[in-house]
């Protein structure tokens, strides 16, 4: 599967000695179709995971009332923290490409054991995010049908059917290849952002433009501002998943950082815009979570049904993009020998379809059970997402910590990235602890269960990793190494100055 290392001498990763010149003849990820995705499509992937239309039309509009005075500071702090996480992840993604994204990053800094725990966290976290996309998508689709007056087979049964339809749409897109999947996400996001802007402009016309007084900090509560900032971090979970498409990206070292940076900026601007628009809304207006943006309080509304329909498709796009990322994570672990070899296969078109199919039960079963057992207005998809924040924020904190060790190992430490990683890691850890404590106090053990599941999966993979030999060809945290054919090397024997001794 992997190529024989060529050239000079010594191990692939001798810390403290001269860099190794053992370039491979073939990639460890041989078979994957390369240079499929451009900057725009990759950004669309990241935007789809952030679902700015959903967050702006829900939490974004409710945020000023929930946080009170100083809501804008909360938005700034929350997105500022995610921006620092972006800086941290981009330090890795601008240096190497991998299909495993964060667990590969952690492997480079904190070693195999922590990396596999992070891998377990990502398996659980990404599966839950797919569940959130499909579950909440089916809920919005069900609500769209109800708002549009389509009452045929209304209820849980119809929502389950819609959920399965969403999953089948994802699998179809995945089977067409990553270019098709990301292009589908791009189209969905363009439509969804147009709808978002139409709703916000409609609100501005209806309620008027906000004045400078909405930025006043009089009566602001710091605890509410900080809690609000934490909740924003939970709205951006898995935004880094586009890094797992690095192998298939045209210019990964430039385009992955670009996608992370610009998708976050877009989501932040739209969220802040929604915040400002919402400040002019009358205090006695119906809750934004009644999902009637055009006809508040109305039972039926065709325009709101259309908005809900677009949001439903946006959520399916979120599930699709995270599903693509999860498939590549599983594929990467399989190529490293941690998971069964069959999961590391690609089909004739270079798609890791086996891995994508293998994760289907992980993504679907908990959500289907959740939909069947959920109580009236509460959404299992949303509960799952909030609980997942504990797992994913822990993963973020470990990745941030890992950066410091990684930069030290490659002797490229500089103050900016280290400071960003320190603040981002501490912030992510604080969000994880806060969410966990809040859930436990409320008597919910879902987040704790997900953390335990992530730990068990990581432990099982660690045991699996112990059972196989680690060689320069195959190790935990493999990245896409440059091939011997893509570098200029002097003839063998003349590379003495930097050869391993």
């Amino acid at each position: 599967m992997t190529g024989r290392p060529r050239s000079t001498r010594g191990p692939a990763n001798p810390s403290g000695s001269r860099p190794s010149l053992r370039f491979r003849d073939r990639s460890a990820f041989d078979g994957v179709r390369r240079r499929e995705v451009g900057a725009l499509d990759l950004t669309a992937h990241s935007v789809a995971v952030l679902v700015p239309s959903l967050t702006a039309l829900g939490s974004g509009l409710a945020f000023p009332a929930a946080v009170g005075p100083g809501f804008w500071l909360s938005t700034l702090l929350g997105f500022g923290l995610v921006a620092l996480l972006t800086v941290t992840f981009n330090q890795f993604s601008s240096r190497f490409t991998s299909a495993g994204s964060l667990y590969t990053f952690v492997a480079k800094g904190l070693g195999t054991r922590v990396a596999l725990m992070v891998g377990g966290g990502l398996l659980v976290g990404y599966s839950a995010m797919i569940g959130f996309g499909l579950g909440s998508g089916s809920q919005r689709a069900e609500a769209a049908l109800s708002a549009g007056g389509v009452d045929l087979f209304a209820g849980t049964g119809r929502q389950l059917v819609l959920l399965v339809v969403g999953a089948l749409m994802c699998l179809y897109a995945i089977s067409r290849g990553i270019y098709w999947s990301t292009r589908a996400a791009l189209v969905v996001e363009v439509v969804s952002l147009v709808v978002l802007v139409v709703v916000l402009v409609n609100w501005l016309e209806r309620y008027g433009w906000p004045g400078a007084q909405v930025l006043s900090l009089e009566g602001a509560s710091w605890s509410r501002i900080l809690l609000g900032a934490g909740s924003i971090v939970t709205l951006t979970l898995a935004f880094e998943s586009s890094a797992s498409l690095g192998l298939e990206t045209k210019r990964p070292f430039a385009e992955v950082p670009f996608a992370l940076r610009w998708s976050l900026l877009l989501a932040a601007v739209l969220f802040a815009f929604a915040n400002l628009v919402a400040t002019m809304r009358p205090a006695d207006a119906p809750s934004v979570f009644t999902w009637r943006w055009f006809a508040p309080g109305a039972e039926r509304s065709t325009t709101d049904a259309l908005v809900l329909g677009v949001l439903a498709v946006s959520l399916v796009a979120l599930a699709l993009c995270v599903w693509c990322a999860l498939a590549r994570l599983v594929f990467s672990l399989a190529r490293e020998g941690v998971l069964p070899e069959a999961l590391g296969r690609v089909d004739g078109r270079g798609i890791p379809l086996t891995a994508a199919l293998a994760v289907t039960p992980l993504a679907l079963v908990p959500t289907m059970i959740g939909v069947l057992t959920e109580d009236g207005g509460t959404s299992f998809g949303w509960t799952l997402k909030v609980s997942t924040a504990v797992v994913i924020c822990t993963v973020y904190a470990l990745t941030a910590l890992s950066l410091i060790f990684f930069l030290r190992r490659i002797d490229e430490v500089s103050p900016g990235p280290v400071l960003a990683a320190g603040v981002a890691g501490a912030g992510a850890a604080a969000v994880a602890v806060n969410e966990l404590v809040t859930e436990l106090r409320a008597g919910s053990y879902l987040a704790l269960g997900l953390v335990v599941a992530a730990g068990v999966l990581g432990g099982l993979m660690w045991r699996g990793a112990l059972g196989r030999s680690e060689t320069p060809d195959r190790y935990v945290g493999m990245h896409e190494e440059a091939l011997a054919s893509s570098v200029l090397l002097p003839p063998e024997g003349r590379a003495d100055r930097h050869a391993d001794v």
Partner: protein
Amino acid sequence: MPTSDPDGFLARQPAAVDSAFAVLEAVARLGPGVTARELTEALPMSRASVYRIIKHLVANEYLVRTPDLRGFVIGERVRALASGAITDLVRGPDEHSEP
């Protein structure tokens, strides 16, 4: 002080281009596997500038990281640049002219 040739071409080069070429030349001079620290020691630039230029050259495949990510090697794109020029020299200028 900028100077110009008879065709009016401004000979002043943007500093970033000079710096990028300086880094490329340093990698070629110091040999494959040279590290970022060795480059900062060899070049009259700040560490941040060297890191930024390296990142840009790697993103554009003029430089490639060694498998352990610590060192740098001249990338295929430089060879493509050179081989393109050599091919043109071998073909000669006549082959470029319209029939």
